[in-house]
């Protein structure tokens, strides 16, 4: 395991218990951290990149104890924060150069080559002399991932990287991360967009209310949701009734009726309900809805 998190707790000075006894083992490759807003993902990310100190617990990253060996951990770390919009008055290549220098890339020739390669890789070479603050949202994200990758870190932590991107940029971004993860690198991708996980992560964890609700592969998560998703045609009155009891995932008008997809343990009371093959989104809703504490780390 490249990252082992044990009994991690974070309680803010205002009493908010943001992380509750988190235990996680993260293997190399792309690891998705899924959860709704406020689930504690960003807190966990910030603790992992040594921007924040946990209240208790231990974290080991590639054999280094994060709490005692921050410098070593920082040397193998790349980080793209959730918000990455406002820049000081640096040009694109300067921003990368600054990041590269601070990561210990002292040889100026090699650094320059690395920067150019990285700019090519993320498609920013043409705008390298432009001030970073003048880039579009997608370009800024790409510059963000470029700075996170510039020194070939072993662990890359990206917090909500695709939020606000158009579909094309999002796909491009996912692909970029996927290609990096092929090089024995651990990428932790924190997101609340299920599609980001399903399309790129081999392992994932689901967080809710500061706790981990699920850890495993997306397939395992889907398996847990099998038989819990139903498709049925209902009248308007029935729809109102179902909606009060169960999460309705899809609602399509069908004449005067509705064709809906529902996550529920059973829908036998409705005659036309038929099981539906769950997607990761269905599984995510299933887990969120049931506030599950089904999974134990051991």
């Amino acid at each position: 395991m490249s990252i082992i998190i044990k009994n991690l707790n974070k309680i803010y000075p205002n009493g908010n218990h943001a992380l509750k006894d988190i235990n996680l083992e993260i293997p190399s490759g792309m690891f998705g951290l899924l959860g709704p807003n406020g689930a504690g993902k960003s807190t966990l990310m910030r603790i992992l990149v040594a921007l924040m100190e946990p209240t208790s617990g231990d974290i080991e990253i590639y054999g280094y104890n994060l709490l005692k060996q921050r410098k070593e951990v920082r040397q193998i770390l790349g980080y793209l924060p959730q918000d990455f919009r406002f820049f000081a008055k640096y040009k694109v290549n300067e921003f990368l150069d600054y990041a590269a220098r601070l990561s210990g890339m002292n040889n100026s020739r090699q650094r320059r080559e690395a920067i150019n390669n990285m700019l090519e890789q993320v498609g920013l070479y043409e705008v390298r002399e432009r001030y970073a603050s003048k880039l579009s949202g997608g370009m800024k994200r790409r510059l963000g991932i470029a700075q996170a990758l510039i020194h070939n870190p072993k662990v890359i932590i990206v917090d909500e990287p695709t939020t606000g991107l158009d579909p094309e940029e999002r796909i491009r971004f996912r692909n970029l991360l996927s290609s990096v993860s092929a090089n024995d690198t651990t990428i932790i991708l924190s997101t609340h967009i299920v599609g980001d996980i399903s399309s790129s992560c081999s392992n994932m964890a689901l967080m809710n209310h500061g706790q981990v609700s699920f850890v495993g592969s997306p397939e395992e998560m889907l398996k847990r949701a099998e038989g819990k998703v139903w498709r049925l045609r209902v009248t308007n009155e029935q729809y109102q009734e179902i909606n009060k009891k169960h999460p309705v995932i899809s609602t399509i008008p069908a004449g005067i009726d509705w064709e809906i997809q529902v996550v529920a343990d059973s829908m036998s009371q409705y005659g036309n309900a038929e099981p539906y093959t769950p997607t990761l989104e269905h599984a995510y809703v299933y887990f969120m809805e049931n506030q599950l504490d089904l999974w134990m780390n051991d």
Partner: protein
């Protein structure tokens, strides 16, 4: 090393941001423009009033000072900016997760800011250096640029950067940080800059850092310590900020070393600050202990040194001295006390070849001769000593606040040094006691310490290799040894050793020389044409000086000696000779620094430019004044040199003028330290007295004729120095006032007044000039001899027939002052068959119970200033005695009409003390009274039927309540005035907001010619005279007018314009014609009615002006004057009612 690389990486990108900010760009551009302008004005424009090009370090000093101030303020805004930026920019965190340490990050950030400023400084100062090189060439002081950068800019920037960062981290608010730091800067700059000996002056704006070309900084260790204090505290703050920084450190414990280092640095900085203050306090305490020691030994037996030979060897900085003296005891004793600088260690003392035991306590040497030596006997004494002089012994009598106050040139502060003794340069004056002198030095309990005696000195000096020696006497150089032997006995010796060169010329068997440091010949080139003319110039100048000072120059040689600019002297109560003036020589600051007239190069350029512009040149023009528009180069050079040398004829030096609250101001004058008189008087005559050490000064001031007639100073400050002195002499004895430090600027006035009074009766008997001549003759007969004050008085008593010793008894008590009332002067033209004469009359009454004297004089248009009538037969000034309550009718006749009557009331409560009354219109008459002073009845001055109410009459004169004043106004109008004195000066262009008492010749008053003055306004302020009537009847009502200065001046212009003089085309306008409301608004309140009347000042003359005639039936009439007028001021003086 990764640490350095990380710091440089962070700093590089921080600098980039700063360079890209508009704030910094604008600052840089403004800095360049500003410094370019400064350079041009002060340096390149060759302004003769500028000293900037005399000392090469001045330009870098001034530029660093201004840059430092600007940067200190700008840095407050920028130093903590990155913290705010890091907080605001969400992209900053990607740098926080890098493996660099907090220290590397913060050091990088701060260095990034600082280095940009350093870069700007390098560019600006580099540009200055290049300009300086082109202007000064080899004289450029390259090192000074580095010095000022290191001692001024570096500590300030590091301190303010550290402080603002740590404050920002603690307060977590940039706005609050700005407010606190800008407030701190303001306080340290304007209020606390000189508190605790400049301790809080972190910018270095007030702490003197002048660098001399000859000797460098005045006190480098002290200076470095002061700057180090801020550097260390700054570094401590920076390290503290590392510990406080919000980013998680690379290691848990990594902040502890920074906390420790921060505390160590801050404590070390505080320690340096403490040392700074302590050094001053120590010096102060040391001086107090020296004074206490002197007080203890001031009455010890002492010897007069009849002859003294000093054998001096300079060894590096050390002086090794053998002094052989022939001494004459003033009292029989076996132990005698001498003073020698405490830095000089005494090795042995011998007498007649025998070693003597001695006791050394600080500066005192108590020599035990082992036997009684009778008074008047002679004995030999040899003292062997060596060491480096300790300057702390100098100027024990000068208050500490004066010693720590530094002079300034523009923004630059000049330190003070009293002596120099290094391996390369030595300047020792008698003030350092560098050779033994009898008795103790300054005592604040007994005046017996400070006797000077004439001694036959001679000297042999072996200086360090390559150095030249200069001192008093005939100079002979044999091998590496220089001998000096003065021709006469002198009172003091001074010693200069350095890389001196000299130019000399013999004129009429006197050697005149200029001694200057190598490379400092600033006079030869600009005065290149006058070499052949020098002897005749010197001859002329000598005559000029001797006529002016009324004494011949007594020595066979005279030299102007260049000394470091920090060399400072003070005026003393007992002599007007400052240490800058020594027998046979005057010390001038290096390259004539601050003496603009010695800036020959610029003076010449400026004059030539003026001549060229006016199209003159070629012909010989007038020599004086500003007639150089047509002068030849030779005449111009002679004029410039003559003008420079004439500085030695000026009694007053710097005049400091400060505008204070409500239009009041203070003016302080300094004695001219280069005044030549001591050369012809003090170093030649010595009147001494063990009871009255000021005796010498008293005779000196009396013979010079004290003049306290700087009318413009009086107008600004409200009282003349003599008047201030007299007010104090009523409260304290003369003896007590002489020892008080707070009014030491008035000491000459105390002495002058007392001297005048001492000799008043004798002058009355003999005539002013005859007495003066007699006194001077007695003094002159004792040239180069010690003359006792008491015997001088006895001799003068015999000559004048007046007991001059008797008045001394009253000097231990506060003075009682007479009070005089003066009538209106009358001049009558009388033509008889034999002659035509102008008869002058005035009635003066002593209305006090104290007897006194007045000095009475007449000014004529043809007056030659020598105090005699036009035929030279009759003195125009004389002394008149007055008994208590005595009134005199003073009559004198002349061949021409006098212009003014001058009455100087000497020791009286009168204000002003000097009254000049205009002679007015001449009347025609037929009967001559005959000259004389006739005692008349005191009613002579009162006029029947006249009722006068003056502003001095507290029961009948009333003023409106002062207007409330805003806080801002109070702050802006800082009180500079001396609250000890009731009367104040004022200026019409900045008149007081509230009724302010002031005195002037032109106001009405019995003894005090005063009035209240106020700024004109809306009529809310007013003055009221309650006039008690002499029964019902018709009265003519008058007001006493003294027209405002502005109006007076305009009238003069218009009058002279009308006469075809200056004013030209304005003459026809008739003064203030065309302007309205230049009237005072009066209200006459009587019998329940208020009657308004206007007094148009355009049509009024000075003196009583009629307001109108009124019939009253009441007992009292109120005359009310409001401040509503378009004139700038309103003056409330006196009203007069005359019953028909």
């Amino acid at each position: 090393m990764q640490l350095i690389k990380n710091i440089l990486s962070v700093s590089k990108y921080e600098s980039k941001l700063l360079l890209r900010s508009w704030f910094f760009k604008v600052f840089s551009v403004l800095a360049f423009l500003f410094f370019g302008l400064i350079t041009f004005i002060q340096f390149l424009s060759e302004n003769p009033e500028s000293s900037m090009d005399t000392i090469p370090s001045l330009m870098p000093y001034m530029v660093s000072l201004m840059l430092n101030l600007a940067q200190a303020i700008i840095t407050v805004f920028l130093a903590s900016e990155y913290l705010k930026r890091d907080k605001e920019l969400d992209t900053s965190e990607v740098f926080y997760v890098r493996p660099l340490s907090n220290a590397e990050y913060l050091f990088g950030k701060m260095w990034g800011t600082i280095r940009v400023f350093f870069g700007l400084d390098f560019i600006i100062m580099g540009t200055m250096l290049v300009i300086s090189y082109f202007k000064l060439g080899a004289a450029t002081d390259y090192m000074s640029y580095l010095w000022y950068f290191l001692i001024l800019i570096v500590p300030t920037l590091i301190f303010i950067t550290g402080l603002s960062t740590v404050l920002m981290m603690t307060l977590k608010s940039q706005a609050l940080t700005f407010v606190i730091l800008l407030g701190y800067i303001g306080i340290t700059l304007f209020y606390a800059s000189d508190v605790l000996y400049y301790l809080f002056d972190y910018i270095g704006f007030s702490f003197p850092m002048f660098k001399s070309t000859i000797t460098g900084f005045a006190a480098l260790p002290q200076l470095l310590n002061h700057r180090m204090a801020y550097l260390l505290i700054g570094l401590g703050c920076i390290m503290g900020s590392i510990a406080l920084f919000g980013r998680l450190a690379n290691s848990h414990r990594s902040k502890y070393p920074w906390i420790v280092l921060s505390i160590v640095c801050i404590l070390a900085g505080i320690g340096a600050g403490f040392k700074h203050v302590n050094d001053y306090l120590q010096k102060n305490n040391y001086q107090k202990s020296i004074i206490a020691l002197n007080n203890k030994h001031v009455n010890d037996p002492k010897m007069v040194i009849d002859s003294c030979f000093l054998d001096i060897q300079q060894q590096e900085a050390n002086l090794n001295v053998k002094v052989s003296m022939i001494c004459v005891p003033l009292k029989t004793a076996s132990k005698y006390t001498f003073t020698l600088n405490p830095g000089m260690e005494v090795n042995s003392i011998l007498s007649e070849g025998k070693k003597l035991s001695f006791e050394r306590t600080e500066h005192l040497i108590i020599v035990d001769f082992g036997k009684q030596i009778a008074e008047g006997d002679t004995t030999s004494l040899q003292i062997n000593y060596e060491g480096i002089v300790d300057e702390r012994i100098c100027y024990l009598d000068i208050p500490e606040e004066l010693q720590v106050t530094n002079d300034k040139v523009l923004l630059m502060k000049i330190d003070k040094r009293y002596a120099y003794q290094t391996a390369n340069y030595v300047l020792l004056t008698p003030e350092t006691y560098w050779y033994p002198k009898p008795g103790v030095c300054y005592s604040d309990e007994s005046p017996d310490w400070q006797q000077n005696y004439f001694t036959h000195y001679s000297m042999r000096v072996k200086p360090n290799q390559g150095l030249t020696v200069f001192s008093q006497g005939k100079r002979e150089v044999q091998d590496s040894v220089t001998y000096f032997k003065p021709d006469q006995p002198i009172q003091s010796l001074s010693l200069c050793i350095g890389e001196y060169e000299y130019k000399s010329v013999n004129v009429d068997s006197t050697e005149y020389a200029i001694w200057y440091l190598k490379g400092h010949d600033f006079f030869s080139a600009p005065l290149d044409s006058i070499a052949d003319t020098i002897p005749s110039l010197i001859r002329d100048m000598r005559t000029d000086f001797e006529v002016n000072l009324q004494l011949p120059y007594p020595f066979q040689r005279f030299a102007l000696v260049e000394v470091p600019a920090q060399f400072e002297t003070y005026s003393r109560a007992w002599t007007q000779a400052q240490e800058t003036v020594q027998p046979e020589m005057i010390f001038l600051p290096e390259k004539g620094f601050r003496l603009n007239r010695f800036n020959f190069a610029n003076q010449m350029k400026w004059r030539k430019q003026s001549r060229d512009r006016s199209g003159g040149g070629g012909g010989r023009g007038g020599r004086g004044g500003r007639g150089f528009q047509t002068q030849s180069d030779l005449d111009m050079q002679l004029d410039v040199l003559r003008g420079a040398l004439r500085i030695m004829l000026e009694k007053t030096g710097n005049v400091a003028f400060e505008q204070g609250r409500f239009g009041q101001s203070t003016v302080t004058t300094e004695e001219n330290p280069y005044y030549f008189l001591p050369e012809v008087y003090n170093f030649r005559y010595n009147v001494y007295s063990s009871k009255w050490p000021v005796a010498n000064r008293l005779i000196e001031i009396f013979l010079q004729g004290s003049s306290d007639r700087n009318w413009w100073i009086r107008r600004e400050t409200g009282l003349s120095n003599d008047e201030k002195a007299l007010l104090m002499m009523q409260q304290k004895s003369f003896k007590q006032l002489l020892t008080e430090v707070e009014h030491r600027d008035l000491i000459n006035n105390f002495i002058g007044i007392q001297g005048n009074m001492l000799f008043a009766e004798a002058q009355y008997k003999m005539g002013i000039q005859v007495f003066k001549d007699s006194l001077f003759n007695v003094v002159k007969a004792n040239e180069f001899k010690n003359l006792s004050f008491e015997s001088l008085l006895t001799k003068m008593s015999t000559i004048s027939g007046v007991d001059l010793n008797a008045p001394l008894a009253s000097w231990d008590k506060p003075s009682k002052l007479a009070e005089y009332q003066m009538g209106t002067p009358v001049v009558t033209f009388i033509q008889t068959d034999e002659k035509e004469i102008y008869q002058t009359e005035i009635v003066i009454s002593n209305i006090s119970k104290v007897p006194g004297y007045i000095k009475y004089g007449l000014e004529f248009h043809s007056s030659d200033g020598l105090g005699y009538s036009v035929d030279g037969l009759k003195p125009t000034t004389w002394i008149i005695p007055f008994n208590p309550h005595e009134t005199k009718h003073i009559v004198s006749s002349w061949e021409e009409a006098p212009a003014e009557f001058d009455i100087y009331t000497m020791m009286a409560t009168n204000l002003p003390l000097n009254v000049s009354l205009s002679a007015g219109n001449t009347l025609d008459g037929y009967s001559m009274i005959g000259d004389g002073e006739f005692v008349v009845d005191s009613n002579y001055l009162s006029v029947e039927g006249e009722i006068i109410v003056d502003n001095e009459d507290s029961k009948l004169f009333e003023l409106s309540e002062p207007a409330p004043m805003g806080l801002l106004n109070k702050l802006i109008n800082e009180n500079l005035d001396d609250e000890d004195f009731k009367y104040h000066g004022f200026s019409e262009w900045r008149a007081p907001f509230n009724w302010t008492p002031t005195t002037d010749n032109g106001f009405f008053g019995k003894a005090i010619r005063s009035a209240y003055v106020i700024r004109s306004g809306d009529g809310s302020q007013y003055a009221t005279w309650h006039v008690p009537l002499d029964g019902p009847g018709t009265y003519d009502v008058y007001y006493y007018v003294r027209r405002p200065e502005q109006m007076r001046w305009n009238m003069e212009v218009s009058v002279s314009g009308g006469r075809g003089g200056r004013g030209g085309d304005r003459g026809g306008r008739g003064g203030q014609g065309g302007r309205d409301d230049q009237s005072y608004v009066f209200s006459i309140n009587y019998d329940g009615t208020k009657e308004e009347t206007l007094l148009d000042l355009r049509r009024a003359d000075d003196g009583w002006q009629e307001l109108g005639s009124y019939t009253f039936y009441c007992d009292t009439v109120d005359v009310v004057l409001s401040n509503k007028t378009k004139l700038s001021t309103v003056t409330a003086d006196a009203v007069k009612f005359v019953k028909r």
